[in-house]
């Protein structure tokens, strides 16, 4: 299991490093259209062939991989921090604070997130750059994705509140925010780590779904979701087209496998 974890972490780091290196390579372009070579098969010049507009599929995949591996964990981190704050406060203080936050969490969980994303996207300024729209998309995913982890954190915080060492800390004069920050939060770390690692593949797949619907970053910016659109066209279903799918599946698997054992048990 340890070996698999290490392998997963190595693989993810490797993917990210290659993606960054490819982006920095001179002359590399994910957007240039070689129209004479549209839908070209793999060759020395285009190792994964070209898409239907003649763009280098490998360059697009590498760029999309880099951006997804950067933005999905960032969004997951933001969502986990927010979940820690909301869930920690609700679980620790209880009472009206708990009831209010639980209601907000219920409301968030009942929102049809896809329609909300569509509505917010429609409100974006039209001249927002593709990267901005992608960051906003991930930001929205983070803003919508904290509710479920907050519930778990709240349950953990409630459990800790009743534990003996917290009673002891209280007896020693500790309380309020200090107790929350010094005693509760460090003990919630495994829960938060689990939520963080669970959120990353969820956000990756959510962006992929939006991209499949044509609602991710605008042209010519490549994202995994945009690239997966190629799979909708049965005439272009060649082996190299599945490279994006492989990259998505591989990274999602890796994120699942890097759970430490104790986190998996939680």
């Amino acid at each position: 299991m340890k070996l698999l974890r290490r392998l997963s972490i190595t693989l993810l780091c490797l993917m990210f490093a290659i993606a960054l290196a490819a982006d920095l390579a001179p002359g590399a372009s994910y957007s240039r259209q070689f129209r004479e070579f549209a839908n070209a098969p793999p060759s020395a010049r285009f190792p994964l062939g070209t898409d239907d507009l003649g763009r280098d599929r490998l360059m697009r995949l590498l760029h999309a991989t880099g951006i997804s591996l950067l933005l999905a964990p960032s969004a997951a981190l933001a969502s986990t921090l927010f979940a820690a704050l909301a869930g920690g406060l609700a679980g620790y203080f209880g009472g009206w604070c708990d009831r209010l936050l639980v209601r907000i969490v219920d409301l968030m969980l009942s929102l049809p997130w896809l329609f909300l994303l569509l509505a917010v996207r429609a409100l974006l300024p039209l001249n927002a750059s593709p990267l901005t729209s992608l960051v906003v998309t991930y930001g929205l995913l983070a803003a919508l994705g904290w509710a479920s982890p907050a519930r778990v954190v709240r349950a953990g915080a409630r459990q800790l509140r009743e534990s003996e060492f917290i009673f002891q800390a209280r007896a020693c004069g500790s309380g309020g925010i200090r107790l929350l920050w010094r005693q509760i939060v460090p003990n919630l770390r495994p829960v938060l780590l689990a939520q963080f690692l669970t959120s990353i593949p969820i956000f990756i797949l959510a962006e992929a779904n939006l991209g499949m619907l044509g609602l991710s970053a605008g042209e010519p910016y490549p994202t995994w979701g945009n690239l997966l659109q190629e799979l909708q066209n049965p005439s272009s279903l060649r082996l190299e087209v599945f490279a994006t799918l492989t990259a998505v599946a591989l990274s999602v698997c890796c994120f699942k496998l890097i759970f430490p054992m104790e986190v998996s048990r939680i």
Binding site: Q33, L53, P130, G218, E219
Partner: protein
């Protein structure tokens, strides 16, 4: 032993049944959605239109290949009084599907019902040249004349869309067309059965239609439709996209047809609404003819046709596709792809290209967005190609894909957009059907709709020409007027026409007498003579 043998035989037959599931003389094809109505006079959507076409008997029919008018239930017709009156001599000994005889009274009943304002019929709108209803006079059982208060342009051609209803039949489904609606399972299919009283016969005297029934399968997904076609469960696909066409060409080249340019065109326009929430310097770009022409000349239409439509499209000349044989202005040519000329035009208009970026007089870098509907792959790809083309003249184009309701909201209500890329289909060949687009006061005058007064001299000229052609009874004179409209549109480029898509379709090899047309319904316009051979579907 006999019982066991019988069971085995039954079992074997049950196994092979799927292979024989398609019966000869039974045609199957897909509709995109359920028909919204079976009232042939209240049709608005494509599926209802398909049912109407297959079931309705009309007085005159536009031949979809020759685009000429041919007599159907009317033996002859005569247009008088400067296009205000039409008189029909009707065919005798014709009966509705329920046996009720067809007379001039039925034509009168149909026209009166059609023109009833309570019906809100879209078909009737084309006849409404004035507020007064037409006067229908039954002169004899086989002669009827209809007098309109004001001239109606291309009056006789409008009757292609008017199904004659029975004024006497008790059955609401009684029709004069080749088929009648026998069954409807919402979300599943519409079953049409052969009209036993259909009046037409072939050259050998055999009563038409040849097919016994038509199954219209409700299937929203084009991919599933294609799969079903490949499996032999569907006999024809009325409209194919270029990717599917290429795919089928590789698998079964004899089953696909490219009928040439269709009436569909893809185009782009700039928002010229004065009250639009856009910066004034951008509004100044969009109302500049030179700017629009420069954009048009920057676009490589040949590449769009080759890369996106795999050669199954052609660069568009103007508002009318060459598929519309009579009204197409053959003197027009597509705007050439000429970057040097585009830069020259921009230069004349005060723009400056510096370090790969185009700046306007005020020093603003030229950057704008184009909205299109999400999920339409050809359109998204087309926008990406235009993006690269415009980059060569220093313009930054942002492509924004929106869900359809948001897009419509922006282009029709809030006007919060800069440019839009969409398609247009002219279902009617006659230019009068496009009055709601070309008149400056019209709601579909997309670049600047609902104007109280024409904003520009050329729009005022288009208004004048369109009104003049609508009031002109002679087709040749109308053609001259509408040619001028097309020329103005080409010169001023309020719509930047990009490509005319070809009409692509596929037929099962069991179907005979096919005659693909560019005009809707492309594949089954001659439904009454389509035949299906007895070759089994399982043998494909």
């Amino acid at each position: 032993m006999t019982r066991r043998y019988a069971f085995r035989l039954w079992f074997a037959l049950a196994l092979i049944t799927p292979a024989f599931s398609q019966v000869a003389d039974e045609l199957r094809f897909c509709l995109r959605s359920d028909p919204k109505t079976f009232d042939p006079l209240a049709v608005e959507d494509d599926s209802s239109e398909a049912v109407r076409y297959l079931t309705a008997g009309v007085l005159l029919r536009v031949n979809r290949v020759t685009q000429q008018l041919s007599p159907e239930l009317a033996l002859s017709w005569k247009v008088d009084r400067q296009g205000r009156q039409i008189t029909f001599q009707l065919r005798r000994n014709v009966a509705f599907s329920d046996g009720t005889p067809f007379t001039a009274d039925d034509v009168a009943f149909t026209m009166n019902r059609l023109m009833d304002p309570k019906l809100h019929s879209v078909t009737a709108d084309a006849f409404r040249s004035s507020d007064l209803p037409p006067r229908v006079s039954v002169e004899s059982p086989d002669k009827v004349s209809i007098l309109f208060a004001a001239p109606v342009s291309s009056l006789e051609r409008l009757f292609d869309q008017v199904p004659v209803l029975s004024g006497q039949s008790r059955q609401k489904t009684a029709v004069l067309g080749p088929f009648y609606v026998a069954d409807y399972k919402p979300g599943v299919e519409v079953l049409l059965q052969r009209n036993p009283n259909y009046w037409k016969t072939d050259a050998r005297g055999i009563r038409l239609p040849y097919l016994k029934s038509v199954h219209l399968i409700i299937q929203q997904s084009r991919e599933i439709e294609l799969v079903r076609f490949r499996r032999g469960e569907v006999d024809l696909v009325n409209s194919l996209d270029p990717d599917a066409f290429e795919q089928l060409t590789l698998q079964a080249p004899t089953s696909v047809y490219d009928a040439g340019p269709s009436l569909e065109s893809e185009m782009m326009w700039f928002n010229q609404v004065a009250s639009a929430p856009l910066p004034s310097y951008k509004k100044a770009w969009f109302i500049s003819r030179e700017f629009r022409r420069a954009i048009s000349e920057s676009v490589n239409r040949a590449d769009l046709c080759r890369v996106i439509y795999k050669g199954h499209a052609r660069p568009a000349e103007g508002p009318v596709s060459p598929a519309n044989r009579f009204w197409f202005n053959s003197a027009l040519k597509p705007h050439p792809h000429d970057t040097a000329s585009a830069i020259h035009r921009l230069d004349r208009d005060g723009f400056r290209l510096w370090d790969g970026t185009l700046y306007d007089r005020g020093g603003h870098p030229v950057e704008f967005s184009v909205v299109t509907n999400a999920g339409n792959r050809p359109r998204e790809r087309m926008a990406a190609m235009i993006q690269q083309d415009l980059a060569t003249v220093g313009i930054k184009l942002n492509v924004v894909t929106l869900d359809f309701p948001s897009l419509i909201e922006r282009i029709t209500r809030s006007f919060n957009y800069e440019a839009c890329l969409l398609g247009l289909t002219n279902l009617d060949l006659d230019p009068s059907a496009q009055m709601n687009v070309w008149l400056s006061s019209a709601g579909n005058h997309q670049w600047n709709p609902n104007q109280k007064e024409p904003a520009t001299a050329w729009e005022a000229e288009i208004d004048r020409l369109m009104r003049a052609q609508a009031a002109e009874p002679r087709d040749a004179a109308r053609k001259r007027l509408f040619d001028r409209v097309q020329q103005i549109v080409s010169e001023e480029a309020p719509f930047i026409y990009l490509v005319n898509k070809n009409s692509l379709m596929a037929f099962s090899r069991q179907i005979r007498n096919t005659a693909p047309a560019a005009v809707q319904p492309q594949a089954y316009w001659n439904i009454e003579v389509l035949q299906k051979t007895t070759q089994l579907a399982g043998s494909k």
